[in-house]
Symmetry: C2
Subunit: 136 residues, 2 copies
DNA sequence: TCCTACGATGGACAGAGTCCAAGTCAAGAA
DNA sequence: TTCTTGACTTGGACTCTGTCCATCGTAGGA
């Protein structure tokens, strides 16, 4: 759990109680929370924490590569702290539940050069959609 | 171009000038517009058209399967009229430009049963990300 | 031509996220 | 330990995207 905090401190992150709480919320059980959910959980430990701070901190964690932003639908982005192990997502079309999955194959290799239109392709995101056992 | 209009009429769509204009905007050059862009283009031909109507019409086109909703980032959804040929998307991380691509392989087959967690998986969405020639 | 149910309108509203000016405080310097 | 300063936090206003609803208009069948 303090792994994440250690790494952040090692990168010269100025440690504040707000940042610590946000990092701890994400570093707990492995879930995919929206910014508002992160704010709600952080506020249980630090009631005065503001939404703006949560957004700022999440943005920094994303740009540091510690957390991945997942935009699975047109709604709120979700934040995935499992950034160090490459993985894809399985999403329930009804309730929005997300699970991490590790498919076989290498989708990046499936895109031939003439299909890249001069883009510098750096990553692939695969989202499997369907109904979870509860919603089916 | 009137292909789309023909199909819609064939399905008993009540044809109004607003719906016609929205369908024509999408049916032109193959682009991926946001709802607001669709509204702006539609308003060039029919200045009184309201945002609500554009949203309604887009929603109907999506549920009729004539248009696909693409949520590539946390921002506005984009509407892809190329719904009849299965394809994936290549997105510029900087400017948001989208291109349709047709990768090889079958990503659905890459997800083994024990990775499905009881979900009924029905579709896969693959998004390649990188920088387009202009932004690189 | 008339009717009527379906569609359009626009304004209010809601949710997610950003911005900013002012206040606070972590952490290095003395 | 205390001081200093620039980075961080705050909260409220604002933007953007999208939805809802009461009312009005009209496409298309009788």
């Amino acid at each position: 759990m303090s792994d994440l905090l250690e790494r952040l401190r090692g990168r010269g992150w100025r440690m504040t109680s707000q940042r610590r709480v946000v990092a701890e919320v994400l570093d707990g059980e492995h879930v995919h929370l929206t910014a508002d959910e992160v704010h709600a959980r952080a506020a249980q430990r630090l009631p005065e924490i503001s939404r703006a701070t949560v957004y700022n901190t999440l943005g920094e964690l994303v740009s540091l590569g510690e957390v991945i932003e997942v935009a699975t639908d047109g709604r709120a982005k979700r934040y995935d702290p499992n950034a160090h192990r490459p993985h894809q997502h399985l999403v329930c079309s009804k309730c929005g539940t997300i699970r991490d999955v590790h498919p076989a194959g290498n989708p990046l290799a499936d895109l031939p050069a003439e299909q890249r239109y001069g883009f510098t392709v750096s990553e692939v995101e695969v989202t499997y959609r369907g109904l979870c056992p509860n919603c089916a």
